[in-house]
């Protein structure tokens, strides 16, 4: 089997989309000043909510909605904990991920017992975009994908436009850099950060739903398998910029597709695990070379207390 062909690039895009959605999610919350370590749990919860809703109702789009709602609900819980109760973001985020993971596995085991066969769903099929899909190379790679993929494409310029060209986007970035100054200018930092976390949760849930409703078509315990943590890395690599983050996500979608092909082909004797470590290693190297410039928004991880100036 030839490892690098057109199918490889299409698979790279397919595997990049959950990373892209998750990275945009993390980028939004971090730009508002919240490090969201709950993202891994949100993606997993979105995956289960999407899968079980689609299996129960037979509607994939209802599954997508359920995943978005579940992610946003966990985002709201996280927001109450870190914004209103001002708990430490690092430890709380880990706690949210642990709890969500535990509860997802628990409820999956309850709903679908070990001995029974889990329900199957018919995942989204690909839609070829007229004309665009006929472009050589680019067409089959980018424009013969799932509807959710096209939504993800549009999210990148939409989020960039929102962040850099709208007053609300400016408010979001300003509470991430200097919430006191933003508050003095009439912006409510808590409210902005709350909304940012809601949106981040919704996007993370969507990323989870994409994994089983489009990419894999089933739910497994390892469906997210650290993709949430990779998104944390990609935000640093993409320097908190939507377009750079999208490029980073594409790159690591390709790495993911490559290691999957290595695993299945068996002809090349390369340890595929080292490729799995690549996103993390690349992020570490980028952090070493960029040093303080990879520090992110100035007020990241700093709780906002209106009574303290």
């Amino acid at each position: 089997m030839n490892i690098i062909d057109i199918g490889f690039f299409a698979a790279a895009v397919r595997l990049a989309i959950p990373l892209l959605l998750g990275t945009l999610s993390e980028l939004t919350s971090e730009r508002s000043g919240t490090l969201n370590l709950g993202i891994e749990g949100m993606m997993l919860a979105g995956a289960l909510a999407g899968f079980s809703t689609a299996a129960a109702t037979g509607s994939l789009w209802l599954g997508v909605l359920a995943a978005i709602a579940t992610g946003a609900a966990i985002g709201a819980i996280m927001a109450v904990l870190v914004l209103i109760l001002r708990l430490d973001q690092t430890v709380t985020g880990l706690g949210v991920s642990m709890t969500a993971t535990g509860l997802v596995f628990y409820s999956y085991r309850l709903a679908f017992t070990e001995t029974g066969t889990p329900p199957s769903i018919t995942p989204f099929s690909t839609i070829a975009i007229p004309y665009l899909s006929e472009i050589p190379f680019l067409g089959p790679v980018f424009f013969n994908q799932y509807a959710l993929t096209y939504i993800a494409y549009l999210m990148v310029p939409a989020l960039a436009f929102f962040l850099y060209r709208t007053p609300a986007g400016l408010a979001l970035r300003s509470v991430g850099e200097n919430p006191q100054a933003a508050a003095a200018a009439g912006v409510n930092p808590i409210r902005v950060r709350f909304l940012a976390l809601l949106f981040a949760g919704a996007l993370a849930g969507l990323a989870g739903a994409y994994l089983n409703l489009a990419a894999f078509g089933s739910f497994t315990f390892g469906i997210v398998a650290g993709r949430g943590w990779i998104c944390l890395a990609l935000v640093v690599l993409g320097r908190w910029n939507p377009f750079a983050c999208a490029a980073a996500a594409l790159l690591f979608g390709a790495v993911d597709a490559f290691q999957l092909r290595l695993q299945t082909s068996g002809s090349v004797d390369l340890p595929y695990q080292l490729f799995l470590a690549l996103p993390y290693a690349a992020t570490l190297v980028a952090m070493i070379f960029n040093g303080r410039r990879t520090a992110g928004p100035a007020a990241l991880m700093q709780p906002y207390d209106a009574e303290r100036r």
Binding site: M98, G102, Y106, A306
Partner: protein
């Protein structure tokens, strides 16, 4: 809804009761989860308690399981006290496990030296892995939350590559490391139980860290750096050196947890050698409210949760994953309880909260 700082200082008794309240709250949630699973919470808790504490075997098993949690908890505690956000405990445990498994299988080492070398090697491996993010933070200003998290996955995948590459059994194809030599297996100090040297090390570490934090200059300077780095600088403390030292101690403790699992429990490295002890250590440290003595009951609680949930899932319809959920819930509960002891919640609208 907003937080208002309490004016009166809370009493010590109340402070000490906080983790207990948090554990109770999470047990109530656990009871609800058991109800949803269609089992009787009272009898299910009964099964858990007797599986974790009923009889010599259960009790010693829970103690043995608490050893890596105690060490990982101490590792998190030392780092968090100094505000070095080491969430790389998991990777440091794996590094310690790999180092001790490698040393424990060295054929040329004199037998009496095997175990001491494994222990020292594991501590050094863990410390070295923690030294990297600490140096990056101090020299380049790289945020340690992300860097320690990245290192967890890098180390994990390197370990997986080793297990399915150089360490793979050429005959059976099993992805386990070679067994350590019989002379490298940690002795048990109570016949018929799993109470091995690693358990002793864990409990000894509680005493050592406790004394270090409260009785030595370094311990006190760590506390000052953690509470107020600016004041520490003004007081003439070398903040960078104190932080680096805390990171090294934290990594070494996590490495020791890996040595205990290899030397006392598995006698080799398997893919699931740590199963999240590094992250659980953070839960232990928070439940202990960052006090070394509190680490023991906190670790015992989490260990009892896993032994208990194991047995409960065998006897009832309750899935084992309840232990994972409980771990996260108790972490959040204790964080909330600690905040509520320092602040009161006033309910008023968002607008007023931000303007006041």
């Amino acid at each position: 809804m907003r937080l208002v700082a309490r004016t009166r200082k809370t009493s010590r008794v109340r402070e000490a009761m906080l983790p207990v309240a948090a554990v109770l709250a999470s047990l109530v949630i656990c009871g609800l989860l058991i109800l949803i699973a269609g089992a009787n919470p009272i009898s299910a808790f009964g099964i858990m308690v007797s599986a974790a504490f009923g009889g010599k075997f259960a009790l010693t098993e829970t103690l043995a399981r608490s050893a890596p949690l105690i060490l990982a908890g101490l590792a998190a505690l030392v780092a968090l006290r100094t505000r070095f956000w080491n969430i790389g405990g998991e990777g440091q445990i794996l590094a310690g496990a790999m180092a001790s498994a490698w040393i424990g299988a060295l054929p040329n080492l004199p037998a009496p030296l095997l175990i001491p070398c494994m222990i020292v090697g594991a501590a050094l491996a863990g410390a070295a892995l923690a030294a990297l993010p600490a140096t990056l933070k101090l020299k380049l200003g790289v945020d340690e939350v992300v860097s320690t998290l990245m290192l967890n996955f890098i180390v994990m995948y390197v370990m997986m590559a080793l297990l399915s590459g150089p360490w793979k059994d050429p005959l059976t194809g099993w992805t386990d490391s070679p067994d350590i030599l019989p002379a490298a297996e940690f002795p048990t100090f109570w016949r018929g139980t799993r109470l091995h040297l690693g358990v002793l090390i864990a409990f000894g570490a509680v005493v050592v860290i406790g004394v270090m934090l409260s009785r030595t200059t370094f311990g006190l300077s760590m506390k000052i750096v953690g509470e107020n780095p600016k004041a520490a600088k003004h007081a003439g403390l070398n903040v960078a050196r104190v932080t680096l030292f805390a990171a090294l101690v934290s990594g070494a403790l996590a490495g020791l947890a890996g040595a205990g699992e290899v030397g006392g429990t598995q006698f080799q490295v398997i893919a699931s050698i740590s199963s999240g002890y590094g992250y659980a250590g953070i839960v232990v440290a928070m439940l202990a409210r960052l006090s070394p003595a509190g680490v023991i009951p906190a670790a015992l609680f989490l260990a009892a949760l896993t032994t208990g949930a194991d047995e409960m899932s065998r006897q009832t319809s309750v899935p084992f994953f309840i232990a994972d959920a409980m771990q996260g819930i108790s972490l959040i509960a204790v964080l909330v309880a600690m905040t509520l002891s320092r602040y009161e919640i006033k309910f008023d609208s968002f607008e007023r909260a931000s303007r006041s």
